[in-house]
Symmetry: none
Subunit: 265 residues, 2 copies
Amino acid sequence: MTVTSVHDPSHREALWELEDAFERGDLVSLFGRCTVSYEGRAASDLGPGDRLVVLKPDGAALVHTDEGRQPVNWQPPGSEHRAAVRDGRLRVRSTRDNPDETLTVRFAAVHQLSAMTVTGGRDLTLHGSEEDLRTRILERPGLVEAGFEPRETERPSSAGPMDVFGVDADGAPVVVELKRRRVGPDAVGQLARYVRALREEFGTEASDSETNGETAGNGGDGETDNADSPEVRGILVAPSVTDRAAERLADRGFDHVALEPTPDE
Amino acid sequence: MTVTSVHDPSHREALWELEDAFERGDLVSLFGRCTVSYEGRAASDLGPGDRLVVLKPDGAALVHTDEGRQPVNWQPPGSEHRAAVRDGRLRVRSTRDNPDETLTVRFAAVHQLSAMTVTGGRDLTLHGSEEDLRTRILERPGLVEAGFEPRETERPSSAGPMDVFGVDADGAPVVVELKRRRVGPDAVGQLARYVRALREEFGTEASDSETNGETAGNGGDGETDNADSPEVRGILVAPSVTDRAAERLADRGFDHVALEPTPDE
DNA sequence: TGCTCTATATCGATC
DNA sequence: GATCGATGTAGAGCA
């Protein structure tokens, strides 16, 4: 059997089991009444109470109460677990460097200790991510716009790599920013940086009159020195946008295409 | 004992224990070989392997492998846990609405099931940097205000102990409330309670026109001799404050001093 | 409820 | 190692 389990062990018993489990590289689950203290980038203290402590062989440590998705305290992978008995009580300590951080759990009582040697897959296949959205657009560019032709993904620019770069039906360059979910104004800012970078790269001659029928009356106030519609277009592809984001899109003359990462059924 | 624990239970046995644990509002830890699937904003599948499943009475569900700080799959608080035996195997499902999401864990074998009735505190005091902030201020009172003199820390009052108590250049009493990070209106309320308590304690003439007296014009810097200014001053020391908090500070005639818990480099 | 911002964010890719 | 961007981010504050 790959699982060892002790109920209401003494502190010293718990220590033995813990050390064995560390040795074996087991995944440890520890129920008990304890206090927790953390010192590092910040610091925290947690008074006595019942908690679940998880110790992973990769160095991760988690302290969970009965509430919340997040652990109340934790240590990331790469930390080092040590256990000891101090003043007759089990103490579990997880430390790491850079930054120097220490998590200490002091047990008043250990209710249950279980350790499992883990076998089997740990690779998750996730669908519906931004990666899926990119794939979907590259396979069916018409979803973005009739006549859109993707030319490059992760195309570098002075503002960093853009998600998709291509040309529209008129041959005008298009920057496409992909978001897998509803977005706020920050995404518009990101798109704007790419577009600005490309305009600078292309020299930004003001030849224009692309007659973008859908750009809702690009008012004269927003742009710094581009009096006419931009040579480089920006399209934000996301399931939806916030009101504020829509305003900023309109200000800059960008378009929004409503698209989910995966087709709806 | 508040902990129940079963080793290598049958699927039906595990089901009973799980249902009892849900009924009691226990925190559940479940070791076993299982597959996991998730459907919602995205979708994912995880093949057979040994994992630790945590089920919380607030609806949170976590699936952990032996690696990483993050659960490989999860459900946030507010979800609903259900357990059943299908095809002779234990199935745990956690669902929520808005968005509609379902997490399903199908067990090939349950190695260990533990459930604990949780008692005790769950409130974490993230104090560390505030301690640093206090130290920093005590060592360099001028950071708060020119001429400020700390007199006492954790000075007791009817509203509880205040972070720092002192006097300003004019000898007026000052309550300093420390926060290690950006704060909202609640911190202003806390500061106000301390100030009110001190005013009562000092028997200060009831110039409690604090709500309408001097509003914004007072704050600033040259509070050398404001006849209207309250006898007891309040200063909130925090890296930054929300807009709402700033309004309340102004309303009460308190000051905000922007200060990080630790010096910036 | 929805929106915005912060986090001991975590995590991966890239330079 | 440092920085940048995505995340089923989670969680708090605020309208």
